[in-house]
């Protein structure tokens, strides 16, 4: 069944301080995971906010790559989403995930896997592909909300929409963030966050799932 291509445009959203959710204890750095399901009229049919549980190893390894810095003469091996070890050194593309419509190589991705996260996860367990075929969702372009802070908490927002035009309901059980890092002109993809959603999120045909990851620091 063919569906309409969803529209998405890059936009910058400034979060007002009073809109910043506070889920973390002082000293914690994590992501707030917000999922919203809306129908064709824009009516919200499901809305959840929770702590993202799971930075996985590539997040810390990429942070290491940049902070160290790891240099060309002694690169660091990080497993990409295909579990291929990539010899990397410090580069400007690290953590980049500003991809466009239908690009599932990076950005927020969703899947149907239910296995609990492990520090060594390198990809979603069962990724959902982009499209309108059976079991597929339409991936929008990634959008970002600018950094904001209040008296205790700083955050920015990473957003992607997933429209279901597959003809049937799809249950999303896992959500992840894939980011880039490059070795000269070769860009690779790495899973930095993976969350399994208890009970899953049903996205009926014709409805759209919006996923917001909000990296936060709380002092």
């Amino acid at each position: 069944m063919e569906g309409d291509e969803i529209e998405a445009k890059l936009e910058l959203e400034v979060i007002k301080p009073e809109q910043i959710p506070h889920l973390f204890e002082p000293g914690e750095v994590g992501c707030v995971l917000e999922v919203v399901v809306t129908d064709k009229e824009g009516k919200v049919t499901d809305h959840r906010i929770q702590k993202s549980q799971s930075f996985v190893r590539a997040f810390l390894e990429l942070l290491w790559l940049q902070m160290q810095p790891v240099e060309f003469v002694d690169p660091y091996l990080i497993a990409d989403v295909g579990n291929m070890g990539r010899s990397l050194f410090e580069n400007i593309r690290t953590f980049g995930c500003a991809v466009g419509i239908g690009d599932t190589s990076r950005g927020i991705r969703v899947g149907t896997g239910t296995t609990a996260p492990n520090i060594n996860d390198y990809n979603l367990e069962t990724p959902i592909g982009h499209g309108t075929g059976v079991g597929q969702l339409q991936y929008s372009a990634m959008t970002f909300g600018a950094p904001a802070s209040d008296t205790t908490t700083s955050q920015f927002t990473i957003t992607r929409n997933f429209a279901n035009a597959s003809g049937g309901s799809i249950t999303v059980n896992e959500i992840g963030l894939c980011v880039g890092s490059a070795r000269e002109s070769n860009l690779y993809s790495f899973l930095t966050i993976r969350d399994v959603i208890a009970g899953g999120i049903a996205v009926p045909n014709g409805q759209t799932l919006t996923v917001n990851y909000r990296p936060q620091c709380t002092v």
């Binding site: 400007i92 060594n120 920015f156 990473i158 936060q216």
Partner: protein
């Protein structure tokens, strides 16, 4: 989830462990979130993110890469000390020389004596220890100055502002400045400001004092100004003194509100291009900054120098080692690494450490002659108060470790 452990270990001069203090790191700041945002959103130089560096300069940051050059965004690993400069922009494999430069001690783990509560928008330590072995000064001393020659002056009024560059030879708390001035007519009070700049200028990326927040502000009342040439060195004491860091570039900015050519302040300067190292000389010699539009843009006048003196006091110094990252360990459900730095107290007195911070590099892009070039600056991304205070006696070494750990 990411949590951080902060470990402070004090060693005797013979290497024996005297004290180990472990506390939860509480305070990654907005600066860290901002740099993560720049990376994730792949911010272009045509629409950069603006954030304030550790000298409160509003600084553009981006991820633009013009092959073969890239920027070392998020770097905290650093060379030691205050006499080295750090070159953070690489051409894939090799450092290039036109990048921003600053003392290695300014990047990575830093420590201080301040006790101000942490807020997400902190951009610098409350009171930072600089590199070296200078003991605390009991009272303010003259630090940077230009007191040679004096054969011309410049009229300050209305939109005509002036700025004198200086680079501190040691980190200190700036308490006052003296400027050689006289008044003509009734100009009113003279505003005196201290601002940071981008990093020390290189040949193609000369910063100006226009984009910084005021680090300190004060005034010289009209009544304190001599009424005739050549005037005198008149002091402005700042109600809130401010840290200025060794090897960074700052400006003393003077202006008045209103006035005209008959009601103005004259600032004396030397046109003989005095052979002095500080205030700084660029590739053309000494220079003075002037603005004709209230600081919106600035012009350099070379081969001359404003007459001024700058006063402040050190809170003591540590010999500061390189900032090193090591010990990446991954074992489900955890992964962690360690950021480490040594601070040796050789200043002759005990020093009290009350705060720890983490400073990271991030790059900018600027255009010159139709080409784009990478440069950058340094930003505070974490700050923690140490409680209770760790006192490091003379001859002792302090090892500070910051251990970020993620847990699924």
């Amino acid at each position: 989830m990411l949590r951080t452990k902060l470990v402070l270990e004090r060693f005797s001069e013979h290497g024996g462990l005297v004290e180990r203090k472990i506390q939860p790191g509480r305070s990654f700041l907005k600066g860290f979130i901002e740099l993560l945002y720049v990376q994730h959103a792949e911010i272009p130089y045509s629409g950069p993110w603006w954030m304030r560096n550790i000298d409160q300069v509003n600084h553009n940051v981006d991820t633009y890469s013009s092959s073969p050059y890239f920027k070392a965004n998020l770097r905290v690993g650093s060379t030691p000390g205050g006499t080295f400069v750090y070159v953070p922009v690489n051409a894939y494999r090799f450092p290039v020389i036109w990048s921003a430069t600053f003392p290695g001690a300014s990047l990575g783990l830093v420590i201080g004596n301040g006790t101000a509560p942490v807020t997400p928008t902190d951009r610098r330590l409350d009171m930072m220890f600089g590199p070296g072995k200078r003991p605390p000064d009991g009272s303010p001393v003259r630090v940077e100055y230009c007191d040679v020659g004096d054969d011309a002056d410049y009229e300050i009024y209305g939109t005509r502002w002036c700025a004198a560059p200086f680079i501190p030879r040691f980190t200190h708390r700036l308490t006052s400045v003296k400027v050689k001035i006289y008044r003509e007519g009734n100009p009113g009070d003279l505003a005196v400001r201290i601002r940071g700049a981008n990093m020390q200028p290189s040949s193609t990326d000369d910063p100006d004092p226009g984009s910084g927040l005021d680090l300190a502000s004060g005034a010289i009342p009209q009544a304190a100004m001599p009424g005739s040439s050549p005037g005198a060195l008149i002091e402005c004491a700042f109600p809130s003194p401010v840290d200025v860091y060794k090897g960074h570039l700052y400006y003393i900015i003077l202006y008045i509100s209103g006035g005209d050519a008959s009601n103005c302040v004259h600032w004396r300067y030397d046109t003989a291009d005095p052979l002095i190292e500080r205030p700084i000389r660029n590739q053309y010699g000494n220079y003075r900054q002037t603005s004709s539009n209230s600081g919106a843009s600035w012009s350099e006048s070379t081969n001359s120098a404003w007459i001024f003196e700058e006063y402040g006091q050190s809170i003591g110094e540590f010999e500061i080692g390189g900032c090193d990252l090591h010990d990446m360990t991954i074992s489900n459900p955890n992964a962690q690494f360690t950021i480490k730095r040594y601070f040796a107290n050789l200043c002759g007195q005990a020093l009290a450490v009350n705060e720890v911070g983490l400073v990271a590099f991030a790059g900018r892009t600027y255009e010159s002659g139709g080409y784009t070039y990478p440069s950058g600056s340094i930003f505070l991304i974490a700050r923690d108060l140490v409680s209770p205070t760790v006192v490091v006696n003379n001859g002792e070494i302090l090892r500070v470790s910051y251990i970020p750990q993620i847990t699924v």
